[in-house]
Symmetry: C2
Subunit: 420 residues, 2 copies
């Protein structure tokens, strides 16, 4: 374990994993705020802020920000998710301080100029259009809405054209002041970095940050339901799911293993049954996404109009079989996959920085590889069957479909088939 | 330069870049054959073969292939492009020989069972539907067809539902015997690998390979033209392009630099002008794809129906400006970006294995980083302006659009605006 951790006076945690044999480093700041931190009148502001952070500070124009990092061959990026927002740079080792300086500037001194804001609203309008034109993405927005109706956690990250058009610089500033506080922010760096130097730089540059104050987001309440969008796509794009398990819950690791066994690779049950034995799909997989207080477990697939009616019963039968027939062999395979994946992530500065930041945010500290391997090692086949039974038998299905989906059964009939 | 290279008796080149500090390795076999190697009656067979290679050999079932690699936490993947087909594995260091063994088996001993083939045709039918449902992908198929009409290099990689439905095991075998020959194949590995051991294993396991015989594909003849598909997407998805430069041609590096300056990052001209100053697009970028005997240079963007008419003149004006106004500063920035990108790729086994394989295939040997940096360093701003002038002033535009594109001008009128 080479990770070092320091908490600054303002509450921000700085984590580094030094890989001294590398020429580069990946550095980012992760904020514990995302779409679900938004109030009703703020739908889309987390993502708008993430864009506006690149549009100019008191001392740098948008072009200066882009050129400062790209002139030295680095790049700068950001992403907003349901619970987090991340700002990252990948640079050569001599430019780590520059990257930290830019991140500190855009996260404390952005000006949110009105003209820039108006233009950026148009950019986001285009981004919303692009997301709606990609049914594989769009169906997940519908799925999240079906799972968590009328709650911030169930709303789209991008917002709507209407909601985004309403925002003023002041709305962004208020959201930022409330959520971008020191003890909700983690800086993580992996690669050729010096921990003490980064702590010194972060301490100096993030001195304007308020130490605390962010309110907790509204508690998630999984409900389930369905969202359908009939369209003339070639394929029916379908996501079928259930309530999953929160990060800190007992069932988290078992649910992760279940998702891999069901649909995590070429040897997974769904790939073998749906694609290899029946040729029903090109893409079919299972996923488990955990949140702080809930989660979703689901299966995503796309197939032709004529095949929808065949696909759903086959998937449902695999879910049912999983409650009875998970083998030790399968659990060992997934264990090996997780271990290998962790070892490989240690070799990628970007993956590693994201991983230690996420662990710190979710569990309060970076988790040593050996500890994760041991936790996973304690999950038995019986435990995976039990979690499958618990997840699939509630009857509260979330179902989303886009395309020629007239053959898609309704959520309640699927729920009845699976209910104990 | 840590890369070692050995040519086997059958003509296959084995390359390794040993990174002894890693726990993993990436290993692949790249075949110099892809969509453009197909005869008229073979449209889609390169990609079908890439799928069928995972469907069973004389000694392994499809499930065995998947389990052999996933049981040890590795994964196996493949991809077909216009000129190449690659089969790759990512594994922990102790499993490199296993991965080489599986690759050798699927590339020499696949049985192409009739029942498996029929099922896999259905999978590919689904994959074709999925590609058509993603307008950002689909528009590139149309673009390639506009640039190279009625030629193998202009056809889709996936084939059509009709063409794929016709194939028999024998068609696949004939294509494979013709194209999968030793001197058209390169094995490359990066990570914790032992060159001598890999050469020994590859020599033993690839002993059934015919050394040579693949015919050259039909010469590419860039023509230009347009392909339009009016649909009710939210956005107009547009690709506008020109003939680019072949890998071995004089203008290759200058064209690469031009693409970066025009649309390679946040500080690029198109990003600044189209997105930052005007808010017309979420995504806009330039690209240069080189082939063995031709290339395409283009700009891809997506925007709303009302904005199409504004977008195209702005892009065209940037192309015209590039022929006059490229600065030394911009060339230096791109040089730094390329150098940093190369240094970072040295740190990723997957990126590195792909890079040395590509270099060996295109230039006959892996190119030391310093050599690439020097070649790039000799390209002046004047040279980039000259190549822009040469590329943009021919008048032979290729144009593809999907969505609400009634406001999209026709290719010939754009061509006239740019013609010298």
């Amino acid at each position: 374990m080479t990770v070092r951790q320091t908490t600054l006076d303002n509450g921000m945690v700085v984590l580094t994993d030094d890989m001294p044999h590398l020429e580069s480093a990946s550095l980012g700041v992760w904020v514990r705020a995302g779409a679900r931190s938004e109030r009703k009148s703020e739908h889309g502001v987390s993502h708008l802020l993430e864009h506006m952070a690149f549009k100019g500070t008191a001392s740098r124009s948008a072009l200066n920000i882009a050129e400062s990092i790209e002139n030295v061959g680095g790049d700068l990026n950001a992403a907003t998710s349901i619970e987090h927002t991340g700002y990252f740079a990948r640079v050569l080792k001599d430019d780590v301080v520059l990257a930290a300086d830019i991140l500190a500037d855009i996260l404390q001194n952005s000006v949110f100029d009105e003209n820039e804001l108006e233009r950026e609203k148009h950019v986001i309008e285009q981004e919303i259009g692009a997301a709606r034109d990609n049914p594989d993405d769009h169906v997940f927005d519908l799925f999240q809405a079906a799972a968590f109706p009328d709650q911030p956690i169930g709303r789209t990250i991008l917002g709507t054209v209407d909601s985004v058009s309403e925002f003023t610089p002041d709305v962004i500033r208020k959201y930022m002041r409330r959520n971008y506080v020191g003890d909700h922010m983690t800086m993580a760096a992996a690669g050729n970095v010096d921990h003490d130097e980064l702590v010194r730089v972060a301490g100096e540059r993030f001195s304007d940050l308020k130490p605390n104050g962010a309110p907790a987001p509204q508690r998630a309440e999984y409900k389930g339901g369905e969202e359908r969008l009939v369209s003339d796509h070639e394929q029916a794009h379908i996501v079928l799911g259930f309530e999953g398990r929160a990060y800190n819950s007992d069932g988290f690791y078992a649910a992760q293993i279940l998702a891999s066994i069901l649909g995590g690779g070429m040897s997974s049950r769904l790939f073998q049954e749906v694609r290899e034995k029946r040729g029903l799909c090109y893409s079919v997989y299972a996923f488990h996404w955990a949140f702080a207080d809930s989660g979703v477990f689901g299966v995503a697939a796309a197939t032709g109009e004529d095949e929808v009616g065949d696909l759903v019963p086959v998937v449902v039968e695999e879910l049912r079989r999983a409650t009875q027939t998970i083998t030790d062999e399968e659990v060992v395979r997934v264990r090996n996959q997780i271990r290998a994946g962790l070892l490989m992530s240690l070799e990628s500065p970007s993956a590693r920085a994201g991983q230690i930041a996420r662990q710190q945010i979710l569990w309060g500290r970076p988790i040593p590889l050996q500890e994760t391997v041991e936790r996973i090692g304690r999950i038995t086949a019986q435990r995976v069957k039990d979690i499958a039974e618990q997840i699939f038998s509630t009857g509260d299905i979330s179902l989303a479909g886009i395309g020629p989906i007239s053959g898609l059964p309704d959520a309640s009939s699927i729920g009845k088939t699976l209910k104990r």
